[in-house]
């Protein structure tokens, strides 16, 4: 099954990349606020149901994909 993990900095953590992108967008005249930059990780796992796939992805987040000090993740089973 295909899984997508969206990793983002936690709410209270300053995101300088987001700030730089926001300034860039302001430069083009866009009215935009609270830009946050994250990371999208996509992979396939040999699981027969979404529940199992999600559990596997969660284990990967705990071990490596996410640093809980500063990041949070949203796991989505795509197909």
């Amino acid at each position: 099954m295909k899984v997508r993990v969206a990793v983002q900095l936690k709410g209270g953590i300053l995101d300088p990349q987001g700030k730089a992108v926001e300034q860039g967008l302001h430069g083009f005249g866009f009215s935009v606020d609270k830009v946050r930059v994250g990371r999208l990780i996509e992979f396939e796992v040999p699981a027969s149901d979404a529940e199992t796939a999600k559990a596997q992805a969660q284990a990967m987040c705990d071990k490596l994909l996410v640093n809980p000090v500063m990041e949070k993740a949203v796991i989505e089973v795509v197909s």
């Binding site: 953590i13 300088p16 700030k19 730089a20 640093n67 000090v69």
Partner: protein, 232 residues
């Protein structure tokens, strides 16, 4: 005195570390490739050098923290062995959970490469025992991700146990809102674990060990280690 300097793909301060420990301090300093599963027999100090291990992929230090050699470095630390992580070495120690917290992108959005002032907060550590309380060191730093971050409860616990070894300060030793360009919480430049045998710091003392090259303020840290590891 034997020093092991683990080398990861992308380490670039390993030779500076080996030079400071070997040519300057006269120690037996050896590089250890990250695929090794054991540190050299009789290793007194592990110095994890700066650089961009694994190109900083995923997060700074995250992949290096999984290297085979790290298992033996963890064992060395658990047995009370000394570990010093500088710059990327500090990031690796945080990712390996040998030290609390994480290093985020500098708040300035820039790579900061300059000499900074550090105030010595602890002088009872193997890394600082040759220094004086409140002493100000001028040490070079060079990093894009030195913004030390920890959750509020963790930070409070860290301060309560006196875990901070060095803080960014002004030339006169004052620590304030503007003393840490990178945005590090509480101006933390270096910290130790509970036992005080693992130290991580962003600035590079190994680049400031020879007067001839303009600055030897980093020597105090190496002399401290010499004192700490001298045969009784």
């Amino acid at each position: 005195m034997r020093v092991a300097v683990p080398v990861f793909p992308g380490s670039n301060c390993d030779h500076d570390a080996l030079h400071a420990c070997g040519a300057v301090m006269g120690w037996d300093a050896v590089p250890v490739w990250h695929q090794e599963t054991a540190l050299p027999v009789g290793t007194d100090l592990v110095l994890i050098p700066g650089g961009f291990s694994y190109g900083d992929y995923l997060r700074c230090g995250a992949i290096a923290a999984l290297s085979p050699v790290m298992a033996d470095i963890k064992r060395h630390a658990e047995n009370g062995g000394l570990v010093l992580g500088i710059c990327n070495g500090f990031q690796i120690l945080c990712e390996a959970q040998l030290l609390p917290g994480a290093l985020l992108k500098n708040q300035t959005l820039r790579f900061i490469h300059k000499e900074v002032y550090l105030r010595v907060e602890r002088t009872d550590l193997p890394f600082t025992k040759a220094l004086k309380p409140g002493q100000v060191l001028r040490i070079p730093e060079a990093h894009g991700d030195g913004n030390y971050t920890l959750d509020a409860a963790g930070l409070e616990a860290l301060e309560a146990r006196g875990g901070v070894a060095f803080r960014y300060c002004h030339a006169d030793g004052q620590v304030g809102e503007t003393s840490a360009d990178n945005g590090a919480m509480n101006a933390i430049a270096g910290l130790v674990n509970d036992k005080g045998n693992v130290l991580g710091m962003m600035p590079h003392p190994e680049r400031a060990v020879e007067k001839l090259l303009g600055n030897d303020d980093g020597l105090g840290i190496f002399r401290s280690l010499a004192l700490a590891l001298a045969p009784a």
